[in-house]
Symmetry: C2
Subunit: 321 residues, 2 copies
Amino acid sequence: MAVYTEVFDDDLAEFLTHYDIGQPLALKGIAEGVENSNYLLMTDQGPFILTLYEKRVKEGDLPYFLGLMRHFSEKGVACPQPVPGRDGTALRRLKNRPAAIFTFLPGAWPRRPGVAQCGQLGKALAEMHLAGQSYPHTRANALSLEGWEGLFRDTGHLADEWTPGLSDEIAAELAFLKDNWPHDLPTGVIHADLFPDNVFFLDGTLSGLIDFYFACNDLLAYDLCICLNSWCFENQREFNATKGLHMIAGYQSVRPLTPAEIEALPILARGAALRFLLTRLYDAANTPKGAMVTIKNPMEYVDRLRFHQRVRSALEYGLRP
Amino acid sequence: MAVYTEVFDDDLAEFLTHYDIGQPLALKGIAEGVENSNYLLMTDQGPFILTLYEKRVKEGDLPYFLGLMRHFSEKGVACPQPVPGRDGTALRRLKNRPAAIFTFLPGAWPRRPGVAQCGQLGKALAEMHLAGQSYPHTRANALSLEGWEGLFRDTGHLADEWTPGLSDEIAAELAFLKDNWPHDLPTGVIHADLFPDNVFFLDGTLSGLIDFYFACNDLLAYDLCICLNSWCFENQREFNATKGLHMIAGYQSVRPLTPAEIEALPILARGAALRFLLTRLYDAANTPKGAMVTIKNPMEYVDRLRFHQRVRSALEYGLRP
């Protein structure tokens, strides 16, 4: 839920002089995304999304993200498209923030994703991974091992307030992952945050992906493990292997996993769980009281991490033998 | 800013089986209104607004409000229209709450209303008052003198936390208003909350009014005084008589005020300032911490109340002699 920056009608009128997208009919702040300010902009040519980038997104990364969305769309991966102004530029400034207009992606994210949706997501993720292979730009993953260590230094001491001993548990997991993290798996552009609220469905069919502001170059199978974490648990903590089976099968129908990737799934899943545990701890500690943002519970990812620690083989995720 | 109740895609699909408004393309929670949950619903027939009524609106009052919006629209007052389902009913239930779909009113509310907009607002308010004369239903104003006394009993003791002595000041004002409130002025349907965020403009022209959930039968000139309070102050506390002049002149171009109404303007303006002072004190005391609502500062209305207490004649509001 987020509208951080209020856009006045005269601000909008000036901004729209740079575009050929018709006359504005309405601008509604929408409760979507937690990193940026998002508005639904209606013009006489139809709906658009206006995004203002707040401080958490680095301005220097925006050309990578916007170029990626353009690239994906050219390759047939449905996602919002940055709309260029008359000068050909999609990225400009509004209210002293970087801002861009995007095409409107129809659909709604699934509040209770089912088995069929997990299967479609797996397939779309693999298609995105293949499409990303030809994207010429790169961006390091700021939230991989080194980033996790930094987050832990900043907020690890607060972990015990959530549950006694959690700080030690995280330290041990970090040490384990550092020693065992795979480095020779296939890499490419990953979404890195493909939770259900970033995937739209229309009439039961996946209609597109949104929110590429964590995208980076990293292990492809790690991206799949982020999705296993965020789509396949019931009641926040029980892994649903049927959903996992459909997600992995959907993925492999487009891009078969290598034997090394399959073997690495449990450790990649542990890393993914730890990543969201750490950022949630960080967000809980750093969100000002009264901010119009719902704090997400870090403990859900403690349970998921412990689940993955017990997993002995990718078969337990639903991989077909 | 408000989205209190989350609507899932299957909830929406079931709800829409009652309507002939096309296939849903998107449902976006919008940051508008603080009393209800509002969604922008896009279908292949265009945009609509879906409203879920939260507990602050009495369910028994909804037929009055929805009927009023229908009546106003028939009389040429632009406002959202309740969309009837196939059974002819506009009001049904969704997520265990009363809910209705409305036509989409284009436009945006003015963040910095200027003189010309104040003039248009005055004219639209008078047109609404005339149109309301033929509405056959009535609803008492729950937030008139008696309501204010009730609010003061509940939250008056907290007023001194905002500024020392405020509680006594309010008590004295309540006593004064009780002794001096006019009872023989023209009455009719009033909006009772026509702040700038409830009035849309498109290309500089007033395109319609929204949010009729405080509408009731009361003194028409009191409604104008609510607008003088909410549209005509600069920097929250300095009355701009040029804006007042244009608003009153706009109003009188459609419905001339009676001499008794003109004489009563200062006391009605005091009442209006006190009403919003009291409800803001109440809201500040009763909004749970962390609720995704911006607390509005009650003190703005202390300053406005004190201004009105010094006013000796409606000429000071910009009334043309």
